[in-house]
Subunit: 357 residues, 2 copies
């Protein structure tokens, strides 16, 4: 059974297909490619696993591929330029399509390359990690990192189609699977209490990679994100709520050095910090905080601030976050499990207390 | 008398102000800046001339500036990154505004930096060359070059306002003034016969930098471009006609090495080539070709292909142009003085003959 989530963005709308054995099938790709040239962008880890299968589904086109080094610290302008080199050396024109085959880093870089190449060409996402399937595949955020901040250089650019093959999750490391679960839990926390409750009941199935449980969790996550993005494509308002735990998380990722912490792990710790500050503000109960901690622990995720990152470093790094407005750090906090708000209205000393460890 | 041209692009519409003594006035800038942080991007040539005056009109804001090296061969991703470095070091947030103070290179790079910084911030253009005032200030094309092709990496990003102070043209080198005239003549050729005739009559006034003649020519050029861009913002159709002489011109610029030929000079030669091919196709008369040559000569522009660029090099470079579709080089050619078309429907050997020299 193939599930479909439609991301509704007017003339930039696109479908997400979710299911087993989708990779290698032409029918989910061919109708979404307008030109004759297709460049598959992937990395050294994914290429030996899935590149051949992907190219086999693109035999109606003139294909080529770029294999980038694997890892968040290669998500830079310099590595992005390798995609442009290849596109230009092979004379790819404005009607070409780029295909992102890999995790969030590949998706973000390929999408950004597509946004900028000849001022914008099409792209398709084939996310191969749980995190990419539930997060970066919806919403069109693309970009690269800068030494002074994550995702600081980028564009909004929507894909033509997203293909989530749950089989690709079988080759995913346990740590990567858990990192994806962090974003899934987030959707429950910010806007979907019943999904949160389902996750409390079904975490073990997800860790066991039960295909049906995974497909349901991916579908529900994409639906939640698609609803938010349809309401607020360019993050003027409600979309910011998707960043629960992210302002803290980005500071942890940057402070720890790119590549030390997976994005989902940092978001896990960040979400606990957001819950703690929400509790200190009297918005959620101690019991709710414990329930939140329990679900992240059940997903085998870290919940404590790394010892080697000081409170000052975190505070400093949080100030360059994209959600800062006129110097005030705005944070996504919880009003309850299932309801989040974006606010800069909290005493600075409570934030400092939350960050002490 | 201040002239205003409105570029009509729905919620991305913006005004262009044209006149003398506009630099240093707050009223053309302040209403178009939403946040508190303003970064002026300029180059080593322009900074000593106009930076102080520009900053003086921005005292209501927290300002900073980046001074880039001057020249087309600095229009690269690496130099672009210097703008991002500065923005991040100074903690510029998503509500900030970038101001491009300079010629086309500064405008294109600043616009592209604004398009990508935090996935998009506002920008303002203060073009200080004739070319930038009549060309790059309208239409939102931004970007950088790649060693394999000009403007291959970029975005469409519209400014909030454009301020064209004709006084800044007094410090412009004669060669730069002529380069701007090439684009002005282009508007006459592709869609405005009576403007072409006005230019034939008034070229000497423009070369003498008569402020009224300049303001008229800038206004009429911006109006022409604004009409085309309003019809076709992302160059799906009629906008491509603005590239008369540009596919040839880009090949001359790239073949000669960035910085050898000014963009307008290359466009001048390229337009003569387009006229020659149009004549070889039997579309325009020999007399029309002579009239076109005469106006470019009157504007003190080159009209012959540089001897050091071979016909093969030109043909090869033209194939990576953004207007290539499925391997066919589409060219803007002339049906008459005042009417252009985009076509790939010409015998390849006539193109080769046109490029022989």
């Amino acid at each position: 059974m193939i599930k479909t989530v439609n991301v509704d963005l007017g003339n930039r709308s696109y479908p997400i297909f979710i299911g087993q054995h989708l990779l290698g099938e032409k029918k989910h790709l061919t109708p979404y490619i307008k030109g004759q040239q297709v460049m598959v962008v992937t990395n050294e880890t994914i290429a030996p696993l899935y590149l051949e299968q992907t190219l086999a589904s693109l035999t109606d086109f003139k294909t080529s591929s770029v294999i980038l080094p694997d890892g968040e610290h290669y998500k830079t302008l310099e590595v992005l330029n390798k995609i442009f080199d290849q596109l230009l050396e092979q004379r790819f024109d404005r009607q070409c399509t780029l295909v992102a085959l890999g995790g969030g880093v590949i998706g973000d870089m390929t999408g950004f390359a597509a946004a900028c190449y000849q001022r914008g060409v099409d792209f398709i996402q084939i996310p191969t990690t749980l995190l990419a399937q539930v997060d970066s595949s919806v919403g069109g955020k693309t970009g690269v990192n800068h030494p002074l901040g994550k995702n600081m250089i980028g564009a909004f650019h929507q894909p033509q189609v997203v293909v989530c093959d749950t089989n690709t999750l079988n080759t995913l490391a346990d740590r990567e699977l858990s990192a994806g679960l962090a974003e899934i839990i987030k959707y429950g926390l910010i806007r979907d209490l019943s999904f949160f409750e389902w996750l409390e009941q079904n975490m073990q199935k997800l860790l066991n990679r039960d295909p049906e449980a995974l497909a349901f969790a991916i579908e529900r996550s994409c639906q939640n994100k698609a609803e938010v993005v349809a309401e607020d494509e360019h993050e003027g308002g409600v979309r910011a709520l998707l960043n629960l735990g992210h302002t803290f998380g980005h500071a942890i990722e940057t402070g720890g050095g790119y590549g030390t912490w997976l994005h989902g792990e940092a978001v896990s710790i960040g979400t606990i910090l957001a819950a703690d500050l929400s509790y200190k503000l009297g918005w959620i109960s101690e019991e709710a905080v414990q329930r939140i901690k329990a679900i992240f622990i059940a997903a085998r995720l870290p919940i404590d601030i790394p010892k080697n990152i000081s409170t000052d470093t975190l505070l400093n790094l949080m100030k360059v976050d994209k959600k800062v407005r006129s110097g005030r750090v705005r944070l996504v906090l919880l009003k309850s499990i299932g309801e989040a708000i974006l606010t800069a209205d909290y005493p600075a000393e409570l934030l400092v207390q939350t960050l002490q460890h």
